[in-house]
């Protein structure tokens, strides 16, 4: 791999459909959002957040899109705004939800459809390997 030109490395990931690879640029974009999530690792913060979510979010300087993503529990939107699943896990864990439920919300499938897909072997890679070559 060329040390000078990272574009081919980074662009290859962009060719994968329905996938947001959390690289250093997205990490910068989502820093405040992800750090807010980390604050929910303390029980007293979880209580404060649950008592008044909008108020709790103010000092974290989230963008409007990030704020709406949190309040609406729109995980796909939070991912697009730089969130990472392992940070966002603190938010859905605060809600008492497992990964299976939170992850399913990003797929456009119902919980039942998603669970059934997993029980039947998961999503086949066929057709979702490449945007530029959907026949793969």
């Amino acid at each position: 791999m060329s040390a000078k030109n990272l574009s081919p490395y980074l662009n290859e990931f962009e060719d994968i459909p329905g996938t947001l690879v959390f690289n250093t640029f997205r990490s910068r974009q989502g820093f405040n959002l992800n750090q807010f999530c980390m604050s929910l690792m303390k029980p007293e913060n979880r209580e404060k957040f649950k008592a008044n979510e909008a108020e709790y979010l103010k000092p974290w300087n989230l963008t409007e899109a990030q704020t709406q993503g949190v309040l609406k529990r729109d995980y796909l939107s939070m991912m697009r705004e730089g969130g990472n699943i392992y940070f966002l896990a603190k938010l859905f864990s605060t809600d008492g939800l497992p990964y299976l439920v939170a992850v399913a919300t990003m797929t456009g499938m119902s919980q039942e459809e998603y669970s059934n897909m997993m029980l039947h072997g998961g999503r086949s890679p066929k057709g979702v390997r490449s945007k530029s070559n959907p026949s793969l």
């Binding site: 750090q35 690792m41 699943i85 797929t107 897909m117 997993m118 999503r123």
Partner: protein, 283 residues
């Protein structure tokens, strides 16, 4: 001297933690998963390592978004289970081996693997689930039967280290272990994987065929596996399938010649294809 006798890989799915903590092991969904580790628990109880070097990734628990160490090693005397948003897991405190870990850290740095030394950290499901799967569903008042050196590798923020880099790290880890004067029996864990994607509209991806080839290669052709680029892991096994590079760090620490004594593969475990293998060193 200290010596590595075997390697273990296993997925470290957080739902397994919840299943254990809530006592769901006998439910139809979970029973086949725990049954898949019955042999492994017996094997481990007979194998009796003094220390487990446990390679895993921190899932935004010990390290927040301010720092993403590529290779880290826990040198503390003990490690508490992290509060990942639902309280600390009711598991025994993880006892480290500070002297051994410090020796490994220094040896690796002098072998040009620039480790981040961590003197205090909590350990999350990435470490405690593999301990449960191999040592049993222990209670907080129990003790894990061996010491544990936590060895977190970044696979959360891209780019993670390459598979080859992890494999080479394993080779250096072996030298570090074998230069430690005390007579310790060491098992190396490589955890995470197998295929899974926890994000985006492609979430739920599972690639049994690719995973099977990876398991085959882990035993017979690990050098071949080191040539797999990041893009292939993501395309074929999902954005979180990249965790399998950590298995190559374990494999690098073993002899070229190993005996596969056990393998287990099960779909689904939550969003994930659960893979597990036990390799014993052969001369």
């Amino acid at each position: 001297m200290a010596r590595i006798t075997a390697g273990v890989t296993t997925s470290h799915v957080p739902a397994i933690a919840a299943a254990i903590d809530l006592g769901k092991q006998q439910q139809p969904y979970w029973a086949p998963i725990f049954k898949g580790f019955e042999f492994s628990r017996k094997w481990m109880a007979e194998h009796k390592p003094d220390v487990a070097i446990l390679i895993y990734n921190d899932h935004a628990s010990a390290f927040d978004a301010t720092i993403f160490p590529t290779f880290a090693i826990g040198c503390a005397d003990e490690f508490l289970s992290a509060d990942e948003g639902w309280g600390r897991r009711p598991v025994p405190v993880v006892k480290g081996n500070s002297d051994f870990a410090c020796h490994i850290a220094q040896s690796l740095i002098l072998q040009e693997f620039d480790m981040t030394v961590v003197n205090r950290m909590d350990v999350d499901h990435g470490l405690t689930v593999p301990l449960n799967l191999l040592f049993g569903d222990l209670q907080p008042e129990d003790q894990w039967p061996c010491q544990v050196v936590p060895f977190p590798i970044n696979v959360v923020q891209y780019p993670p280290p390459t598979g080859k880099r992890c494999y080479d790290l394993g080779k250096a880890l072996r030298k570090a272990v074998e230069s430690y004067p005390e007579d310790l029996k060491v098992v190396v864990f490589g955890t995470g994987g197998m295929s899974h994607q926890l994000q985006g509209t492609r979430a739920g991806l599972i690639n049994r065929e690719w995973d099977t080839r990876f398991l085959d290669g882990l035993t017979k052709d690990p050098v071949g596996l080191t040539r797999i680029p990041h893009i292939e892991y993501v395309r074929e096994t999902g954005s979180e399938g990249i965790e399998m590079v950590m298995w190559l760090a374990m494999r690098g620490a073993l002899n070229d010649n190993v005996k596969e004594v056990y393998r287990f593969y099960h779909v689904p475990c939550s969003n994930t294809a659960l893979g597990h293998i036990i390799l014993e060193n052969q001369s």
